[in-house]
Symmetry: C2
């Protein structure tokens, strides 16, 4: 949704407010950064998350100072950024980055419904490692008591994107400097078993990691 | 430096305050997230940066609302996070992430010395693309006038790290579920030339991108 605080001051043409743009960015990103204010001081914590519909979930220890601060519903800013490429222009000035980013302004709602809490943990697990949850023993009541799940509305969120090649000045185009894009990608390499897991075959859902 | 706000409430044994730990993390990360407070509201912007000694530099347009806010010296929190691996345990509860993160509490100092400003732009460019700066035409006075460079002291910074395999509960060790680590890495793939750069050979410093 476009509101004053989701409208960028620069390059507003790169901003988007539709779920069709915002949701896939959140689904592609593995981690977000949650920023909040403590005694006037900005604080920022990177964490795992998952999205379902127009809600974003994070989780943490009930003992975490971070969780105990933001579960009170103070304003937070959640940001994710996927770097897709480095954009090399003929001039330093026109160097840029191809990226897909989302910023969400919201207030935490503590999830108290046990079924929603369990579902959120499954979503967060499967967001990082698809199909992992169903391969795990059930989470125990004691583990659940140690865990807080927080939900955030995506109502006030926006995406900002850049793609494509460099935008050089006309007079620089004939310079002999190479210009173009270096694509960036996060890759998963061959899983490394724990010492106590060495005899267990790698499950199918991890084969193409 | 360890201060109350750089001491984590959870897993304090993962925290480090020495330059030998903090500097390499900053040098490996391509982007940071700068969080600040505007009218009580947390804001967060991902951006490129570079480190030299115990200073971190960012740059931006003189017209950027973000830059114009933080150049006034308001408190900021700069965070970087490198995700090195997904840690898969026998239980959902003990799943974790191998990461190297840094949090810096600081206030921007606007760089007014022209030589330092130019050097910071070179450092930021070469941080993303090593050896790029010397291949570029000189930055013009007009481009410099459109650009603000901000410096931040690393005096109040801390790192937090996790590495290694899962830490499962003793009673879960014999479960038939695969456990271990999926390594994560950001890779650069083959550079894609701009249409107007197609006849220019890829320079040596981009060959192993």
């Amino acid at each position: 949704m476009q509101t004053p605080r989701t409208t960028p001051s620069r390059l507003a043409k790169r901003a988007h407010y539709d779920a069709e743009t915002i949701h896939p960015i959140l689904d592609d990103a593995l981690f977000c950064t949650v920023s909040y204010v403590l005694d006037g001081q900005p604080m920022a914590i990177p964490t795992a998350f998952a999205r379902k519909g127009d809600k974003l979930y994070i989780h943490g220890s009930v003992g975490s100072h971070f969780i105990r601060t933001i579960e009170q519903g103070v304003p937070v800013c959640i940001s994710v950024m996927l770097a897709d490429g480095l954009v090399l222009a003929k001039s330093a000035f026109h160097h840029s980055v191809n990226y897909r980013s989302v910023v969400i302004f919201a207030n935490a709602e503590k999830v108290v419904d046990e079924a929603e809490e369990m579902e959120a943990l499954a979503l967060i697990t499967d967001h990082l490692i698809p199909n992992r949850w169903d391969d795990l023993r059930p989470t125990t009541p004691s583990e659940m008591r140690k865990t807080t799940v927080l939900a955030f509305s995506l109502a006030e969120s926006s995406a900002k994107l850049r793609s494509g090649g460099p935008n050089d000045d006309e007079e620089d185009l004939s310079l002999p400097t190479w210009a173009g894009v270096i694509p960036l990608k996060t890759v998963r390499s061959t899983p490394v078993p724990a010492a106590y897991s060495i005899t267990i075959p790698l499950p199918g859902y991890l084969q193409n990691s």
